[in-house]
Structure formats: C-alpha cells, structure tokens
C-alpha cells in the first residue's frame, strides 16, 4: 500500500479546514479561538471521563458505570455523526479520490482515515480515554488494556456510524425506502417507551438484556478496562469481532451500486404538487415558492431529516421527560415541539443560497424584486415545517399516556408554531451573514457555517432546556393551568418573522455580491 499519498491527503484535509477560515477576513482569530476552545473542551471531556471513573470506583459499581458511560457515548456519537453530520467529511469521496494515482484499497484507506481523524471524533476519544485513565489511576483497571479497549472502541464507533450513514443513504435512494426507514427509526425511537413499562412489570427481563449487551463493543470495552485478565481479553475480542464485521459490512455497502430513484419515464408532468402548493401564494410569488418547495423537496438530506425529526424528537421527549412532576412528558415536549417544525428544513433554512451554486445569478435576472426570492425560500421552509405540526400533535394524542386534554395540544401547538417562525427568521439572518457553499447532493458531513451550527444546536439546546429551567424555578409557568400564557407566543413569533422578512430584503440585495462570491466558491 502506498502510504505517502494517503498521508498527504490527511494533511490536505486539515489544510483545507484551515484554508476555509483563512480565506475570510478576520476569521483567523476566531479559528484559533475555536481550536483553543476545542482543546479546552477535549481537556474538559477527558476530565469528565476521569470524574466518571472516580464515581464508578467510589460507588463500588465500576464496571456498570463504565458500561453505561461507554454505551451512551457510543450511541451519541453515532447519532451526532448521522443527524448533525459531524465527522462524516464528504471532501474525499470516492469520486474525488479517483483523480489521484491511488488503487481502490488505498482510496478506501484514505477516505476512512480522513473521516476518523476528524476533530469531532477526538472529543469522544478524549472522554473515553479520560474514563480509562481514571479507572487506572483509581486502581480499578489496567492502563494498557484500557488504552487498547478505547482505541478499538473508537474504531468500532466510527465504523458503525459510517455503516448507519450509508444504510440510510442507500435506503433513501431506493423507491419506497423512505417509509421503511421511517418505520425502522420510529421503532427504535419508541422502543424505550415500550420497553420501560415492560421491564417494570417483569424485572427478570433486565438481567437477560444486560447479558445480551455483554456482546456489544461498549460492554466489551468496559470489561477490558476493569478486568486485566481473560475476561478483559474476551472483551477486546468482542470489539475486534465487531470491527471485522462492521468493516466487512461497510465494504459491502460501499461496493453496492447506488439504486437510482429517478423515474425512467420520458413523459413530462406539468402539474406538480410543488407548483400547486406554490400557487396558494398568489400569481406573483407562486412560481418562486413552487420552485423553492421543489428545491427543498428534492434534497435527500432534507427528506431524511424531515422523516427522522419526529421519531428523534419523540425519543428526546421520552429521554428528557423524567422527574418533572405528573406532566413530565408535556414539559419535555414543550421543548422538542419547536424543533419538530424546524429540524427537517434546517440545513437549507440556515443557508438558503449555499446549495444553489451558480444558479444564484438567476435570481437577479428574473423580472421581480430580488428580495422576493429570499421571502419565497423562507415561505417554502415554513410551509414544509408547518406540515409537521399536525403530525406531531397526532403522534402526541396517540402515543402519550395522558388523558386527552385540549390545553396540552394548545400549548404544544403554540410552542411548535413559535419555534417555526422564530427559528426560520433567525435562519434568514444566518443565510445572509454567514452562508457557506455546500453540496446539494451530499448526504454526509456537517456543511453548515458556524452561524448555522450555532442556530441549529443552540436553538435545539435552548428550546429543550428552557421548559426544564422554567419548571425548576417557575413551575407554574409550564403547568397546564398556565395554558393561556402560551397564546401570545405565536403572534409574537409571527411578528418577529414578518419584521425579519421586511428588513432582510434590502440587506439581501445589498449583500448579493458577497453572497455570490461565497456560493460560487470564490470567497
């Protein structure tokens, strides 16, 4: 295997990371600060892992806590890599690498090395290493066994994230794949809410489940960290077996030719649902809104996010809806509903023009107010996002074990509606002031700008934790009796959204040359 060019490609990955920032004025300081923050975060996470180890040893349940911490980290890494696109760089795709004098195995190696040597994965590595070192320092484990276990677990985690990502990608390209995928994700998301009462009724199930989990990489790693003997070797062997299996599966998935969902018919269809919905916005805006609806609707990442947003948020509602009184799930849902209406379209909403490339010029050749393009794009995002609200409310009625209470629906409707307009309004500002050139067809990688990431993740965190904080400090505000207090929120959000549209129009026209340079990749 020709190692030198692979090393050059890994170096190039980091050079490009640096160059992206260097090319924009004044961003170098921000970039350095970001990296310092990353280093601090890694240190913090390592100490967090260390702290977990101390707790594990002091509580006398070292292995159980290690199993829990590693399992949560393992799953969160897979989730974050696929939902937020971290650590799944599309820079060195197979097509890109074919330009270089590399054989197929070398291209595979280069692709996955650039993928795994990503700052995102280092965060998880730091936490896991912190745990291993902590256990060793506290005298509850072997350093070398722990180190090997962490490195193997790291590789298994990356491989699983890739396999899941590729599986989703290939399912989305199959005809009828999206509903199947949705069913799979829904089943996984609602599994905890079904399994918990079942386990409470029949506690004997739990040890059996734990017994099965011994054969998973996090449990194997926990065994290796705690037991520097045959049990530890057995734990390492389990992870190695997973790595071999996942690597084989990954190669198999990568070798499968992607199935095109494109219709082979040559019949032109004139009357599309996109145009029909767009026509609701009137003769002036109709074609533009229809165009944007098509742009959102054809994006496979948007479709995937839209499909998984409901089960994902159901899972988060269930996970965070604990220990907050008799209506814990309602308080948690008040935080997740705002994201339900935004997550699906979020990738394009916060970077409306980042995926149009040279077509951006077209908007200024049209005989219309250029700002209408910005408005139409946002109307399309709001229309798609709003369509999730009745679905989410229906899911609430069907799945949540509370007696039907219209006040709950009203509160959830208000927060969903508020999130829809506030987040889309903020998305417009990010679109204008912090856009980034992206690849419309790419399903992997987090290609959002710093502002886009801050809005998406910050919005998600604020939305999720605000009701929890209110419950802690002002519980009356999130009680059913205060349902009427939610009523003004949608009106305020709508006012903010309309004010944003009005003031963003001139900004868009004034900044069009800067936007053009960015979306065409010249800045």
């Amino acid at each position: 295997m020709n190692i030198a060019p692979i090393g050059e490609l890994v170096k190039l990955r980091y050079k490009l990371l640096w160059a992206k920032t260097r090319s924009r004025n004044g961003r170098i300081a921000l970039f350095l600060a970001g990296y310092l923050l990353l280093v601090m975060l890694i240190a913090l996470l390592a100490s967090g892992g260390f702290g977990a180890a101390m707790l594990a040893v002091r509580s006398g349940k070292a292995e159980q806590i290690a199993q829990g911490v590693l399992a949560v980290l393992f799953l969160e890494a897979v989730l974050a890599a696929n939902v937020l696109g971290f650590g799944m760089s599309a820079i060195f795709s197979e097509t890109e690498l074919r330009r270089y004098p590399l054989a197929a195995p070398e291209r595979r190696m280069a692709r996955h090395l650039t993928g795994i040597l990503d700052p995102f994965w280092f965060l998880f590595l730091a936490l896991q290493l912190g745990l291993a070192v902590g256990l060793y320092v506290m005298g509850a484990g072997s350093f070398w066994f722990g180190l090997i276990a962490v490195l193997l677990l790291f590789a298994a985690n990356y491989l699983l994230a890739r396999v899941v990502g590729l599986f989703i990608d290939q399912m989305m390209q199959r005809k009828g794949g999206a509903p199947v995928l949705l069913m799979l994700i829904m089943s996984l998301a609602f599994l905890p809410s079904v399994a918990t009462p079942l386990m409470k009724k029949n506690p004997a199930i739990l040890p059996a489940v734990v017994q099965r989990l011994q054969y998973t990489p996090p449990f194997g790693a926990a065994a290796a960290m705690i037991h520097p003997d045959a049990a530890g070797v057995y734990g390492l062997a389990i992870i190695v077996a997973w790595i071999a299996g996942l690597a084989a599966l990954l190669v198999w998935l990568e070798k499968r030719p992607p199935r095109r969902q494109v219709a082979e018919s040559v019949k032109i269809v004139w009357d599309s649902p996109f145009d029909r919905v767009g026509a609701l916005f009137g003769p002036q805006m109709g074609p533009l809104v229809g165009h944007w609806l098509r742009f959102y609707g054809r994006n496979s990442r948007t479709r995937t996010l839209y499909l998984i947003s409901l089960p994902l948020l159901a899972f988060l509602t269930w996970q965070t809806g604990q220990r907050m009184g008799p209506h814990s799930l309602l308080i948690a849902a008040l935080g997740t509903f705002p994201m339900a209406t935004f997550l699906g379209t979020s990738r394009i909403s916060v970077n409306q023009f980042g995926y149009v490339g040279g077509a951006f010029r077209r908007y200024f050749l049209l005989p219309t107010d250029p700002a209408a393009t910005l408005r139409a794009g946002s109307y399309a995002a709001v229309t798609i996002g709003a369509s999730m609200l009745p679905i989410a409310l229906l899911a609430w009625i069907v799945f949540v074990p509370y007696p039907f209470d219209p006040r709950m629906l009203l509160m959830l409707f208000c927060t969903g509606f508020t999130g829809l307009f506030v987040l889309n309004a903020l998305g417009i500002w990010v679109t204008l002031f912090n856009p980034r050139k992206g690849n419309y067809n790419s399903n992997f990688g987090n290609d959002l700008s710093l502002g886009g990431n801050i809005l998406l993740m910050g919005g998600m965190l604020i939305a999720m934790f605000l009701p929890r904080l209110l419950y802690k400090f002002q519980p009356a505000l999130v009680s059913l009796e205060s349902w009427w207090m939610f009523l003004p929120l949608p009106a305020l959000a709508l006012a903010f959204y309309l004010a944003t549209l009005k003031s963003a129009g001139p900004v868009f026209v004034n900044r069009r040359e800067k936007l053009l340079a960015i979306v065409e990749g010249r800045s």
Partner: protein
C-alpha cells in the same frame, strides 16, 4: 436607436478595478461581439448590464431607459445566458424552463407550448435526467433556451458556443440571425473568434482591467475583406485581437 448604451462604467471589487471607465453603444438589430482575454472584465460588464452587479459608477441604458437592478420592466424585455449558466441542478429541463417562463409572465398554455418546442428543437427530450446529470453542452442548450423563451428584445449571451456540438452551434447561429433580422439585439462574449467573425457585425475588444481598446465594424471580415486598425490591415479577428490585447506565446522548454 441604441439598444444598449454604457457611459463611463466603472466597477471595483474593494480596491480592485474590474472595469475602467467603459463606454460603448450597440445599435438595435445588431449582433455585437464583446471580446477580451480571460479576466478582462467581460462577465463583470454583463453582470452590471443585467442587474446582477451594482456598478461603482457610470450609467447603463437598455432599450432607451436607465437600467438598474430593480428595474423589473426592463428585465422582462431582456434575456440572459450567464457564464455560469445559472441552472438549478436538481430540476428537470422542462421544470426549469417552465419556471423561467412563468417568472417572465408567460401564461400556462404558452409556457407548455414553448417549453415543448424548445426541448424538441434543442434535442433535450431526455426527461429522465436532472440538469446536474446533463453533459456540459446540454446544460448550455438549456441555459440558451431559458434566455430566449420569453422572446426578449435584447439577448446577452456569455460564451454561448463553447462546449456545444457543431449542429447545436449551427442551429443557434440560425436562430440568432433571425433574431437580429427582426430588429432585436444580441450581445455575445466568446473566445471562439472564428464564430464571432462570421456572426457578428460589430465587436468591442477590451483588455484588463475592463478597458475598451477598440470598437468597430467587422462585416468586411466575413466577406474576405480586411479591417484597418492603427494603420495595420487585419484579415481575421484573431491577429487583430492579439495585436490589441498584447497576448503573447510563452515557451516552456521542459514541456
């Protein structure tokens, strides 16, 4: 009457000068070639003339009216094929053309008729492919169709002939000739000087940074005649272009 009139056009990107005090006029019904080396400011000039870019200073008149980016009435009367083509790649050709037609105010029936006819005439009937899957030449044909679908009075074509096969170029040339015969105006930039020589009546040559060095009638070249510039006689556009722009051949011994 002048279909296009530019007076003292200046365009700066920050401190960098892209177009320097450019003035030119194009008569209605003319096929006008706008030539210059790479990076000389041709696309920037077209960008200013079509509303994509704001001129730093100077005036632009199209069809006898002052033009700026907000002038939608003038935009309805012009057609543009930008250098980057400006295609929405996830769309199918008919969807893209229908969108452009609707934006330019064509009714549903006319839109369908013209889209169908354009697709057939330009041999773009493979509707199983999105624009991103089309070849460069096919994408160019789609961009050309989008520029003419609303029957504009002035047509701006930024490098229209490059990457298109000979049959396509021949068809486009026929259409453009008919276009100008009807009194409408075509403003073309191109590096294919032989084609410009055959189709254009007049050309302007600019050099970096967007500075006009020559403008004149070249109809004589198409009839085996000559053009006189700075006391020298030129029988083809290429030597005239090289003479005016100072472009020269550099030898690399290792190549």
């Amino acid at each position: 009457m002048d279909a296009i009139r530019i007076t003292n056009l200046v365009k700066k990107y920050g401190q960098k000068l892209a177009v320097e005090n450019l003035s030119l006029a194009v008569r209605a019904g003319t096929m006008f070639g706008f030539l210059g080396p790479n990076g000389s400011g041709k696309s920037t000039t077209i960008g200013c003339m079509t509303g994509l870019l704001d001129a730093t200073s100077g005036e632009i008149e199209l069809l006898g009216q002052r033009f700026n980016a907000d002038n939608a009435a003038i935009k309805r009367r012009i057609g543009v094929m930008p250098e980057t083509l400006g295609l929405f790649e996830p769309l199918y050709a008919h969807e893209f053309l229908a969108f452009v037609a609707r934006m330019f105010g064509l009714d549903e029936a006319t839109t369908r008729l013209r889209v169908t006819e354009l697709l057939e005439a330009l041999e773009l009937t493979d509707t199983s492919k999105t624009l991103s899957e089309y070849s460069t030449g096919m994408r160019k044909r789609v961009a050309f169709a989008a520029a003419v679908i609303h029957r504009p009075e002035v047509l701006f074509l930024d490098e229209p002939f490059e990457s298109i096969d000979p049959a396509g170029v021949s068809l486009m040339k026929q259409w453009l000739r008919r276009f100008t015969e009807q009194g409408r105006t075509v403003f073309i930039t191109s590096h294919v000087l032989e084609t410009v020589e055959r189709v254009c009546q007049e050309v302007a040559i600019i050099t970096r940074p967007g500075k006009l060095v020559w403008q004149g009638d070249i109809t004589a070249l198409a009839n085996d005649g000559a053009v006189v510039c700075n006391g020298q006689e030129f029988r083809a556009l290429e030597p005239l272009f090289l003479h005016l722009t100072g472009e020269r051949y550099t030898d690399l011994k290792w190549l």
